[in-house]
């Protein structure tokens, strides 16, 4: 899948050379290396996995095997406005799942995906620590309390307006 919001191949190469220059060439350092790659790009671009693999003398499937094991790593970029839907116990119990489904439907992407224009990405997270407001959705840094499937559209439209206004100012 080509993702527009993904980082350009060339930029990945350049940044990676910088990152890897600071990393020990040792297989046991794989996870910290992947972490710094993700810190730099927000996700693990395909090119980065290939580069890291050859840097450590591993095959790409080995690196991918490790990376895909952990929830920490993602393979698709974050949108400009990352949406997180809480699926912690409290939010789950009061219908977080329905809100998540609504989000998937409205955005036409699946969990872990990103919209075609690269604006929004969708993830599920476990308890963000304000269970009293369940079900909770977070876009960027803003919290949307007591969500329902019908409030999804409203929230997204408002977000669009806010972004437009912010761009104008």
């Amino acid at each position: 899948m080509e993702v527009q919001a993904g980082v350009e191949k060339e930029t990945v190469k350049e940044r990676l050379t910088e990152i890897l220059a600071l990393c020990e060439r040792d297989r046991s350092r794989l996870i910290p290396i992947l972490q710094s790659v993700q810190d730099a790009f927000g996700y693990l671009p395909r090119e980065a996995i290939l580069e890291v693999a050859s840097y450590l003398g591993m095959t790409d499937v080995q690196v991918y095997g490790v990376a895909s094991f952990y929830n920490l790593f993602r393979f698709t970029p974050l949108g400009k406005h990352p949406i997180q839907m809480c699926m912690g116990t409290a939010c789950h119990v009061v219908g977080g799942g329905l809100v998540l489904e609504a989000l998937e439907r409205v955005l036409d992407i699946e969990v872990g995906g990103i919209t075609e224009d690269g604006e929004l990405s969708l993830d599920r997270v476990a308890c963000i620590g304000c269970c009293g407001l369940a079900p909770v959705m977070v876009i960027g840094k803003k919290i949307y309390p007591k969500m329902t499937p019908t409030k999804v559209d409203e929230a997204l439209v408002n977000l669009k307006i806010e972004t437009k206004e912010a761009a104008r100012d």
Binding site: L50, D60, V61, Y64
Partner: protein, 227 residues
């Protein structure tokens, strides 16, 4: 030559070199113990399938592919406890396996079918494991030589081992976690096409129908596959 170790397996006196695993000693002596993930040439046993359980007197239940022989050891391969464990292990294999055997290209040549008869378990989704997810996972057809069917993969790890051995590095390896574990062949991180020499070893070693040779794999691998 080192002194041989003597042990008893199912009332038969068996001699084996020290360090040999019980499973190998038994198989060499013509005593069959069900096994699926065992590779005789591998240095380290993978120990994933749990079918090779035996009971060692004074020690209890052990996987015979990992347990080295000892002098005077008394091993039983068919006690009720052993059979029960073995059956559970086997049921876990088929709990989320695509069991439409008649439509499967490997029907009648499948190791899983053979084992089902051995451990006396019917090849239908076991009642006690109904709750496992059984969604159909799309096949991986990105490699022109091999098609990977995760629905029929039992994660025995044999292809990973063989590929590693053949090419010095695994081009096939596991990815993801838990129920989602499957092979990262190529659709995730497509490179196998460039690196795979299409030797077909993985297809030959696959006990089930998870790795299927495509005609482009050529004559090196007979389309009969392994087993």
């Amino acid at each position: 030559m080192m002194d041989l170790v003597e042990l008893t397996i199912d009332d038969t006196q068996v001699k084996a070199e020290p360090g040999t695993k019980i499973l190998k000693a038994a198989l060499d002596a013509g005593i069959y113990i069900p096994n699926l993930c065992y590779i005789s040439e591998a240095d380290l046993p993978f120990g994933a399938c749990r079918l090779c359980y035996v009971e060692v007197e004074g020690r209890g239940l052990v996987t015979s592919c990992t347990q080295p022989v000892e002098d005077g050891m008394v091993v039983h391969t068919k006690t009720p406890e052993v059979n029960k464990l073995r059956r559970t292990a086997f049921k876990l294999f088929i709990a989320y396996h695509d069991l439409d055997c008649r439509a499967c290209w490997k029907n009648k040549r499948c190791e899983l079918q053979r084992l089902a008869a051995r451990v006396k378990v019917k090849l239908k989704t076991p009642e006690d494991f109904r709750g496992l997810p059984t969604d159909f996972i799309p096949l991986d057809t990105t490699n022109p030589f091999i098609t990977y069917d995760p629905n029929r993969c039992i994660l025995c790890g044999k292809c990973v081992w063989v590929c590693n051995k053949k090419s010095g590095q695994p081009i096939i390896d596991f990815a993801y976690r838990g129920y989602e574990t499957r092979l990262a062949l190529s659709s995730d991180i497509s490179l196998i096409k460039e690196k795979c020499s299409s030797c077909g070893e993985c297809v030959i070693t696959c006990p089930t129908a998870a790795l299927k040779p495509e005609s482009s794999l050529g004559s090196t691998v007979s389309l009969a596959g392994g087993g």
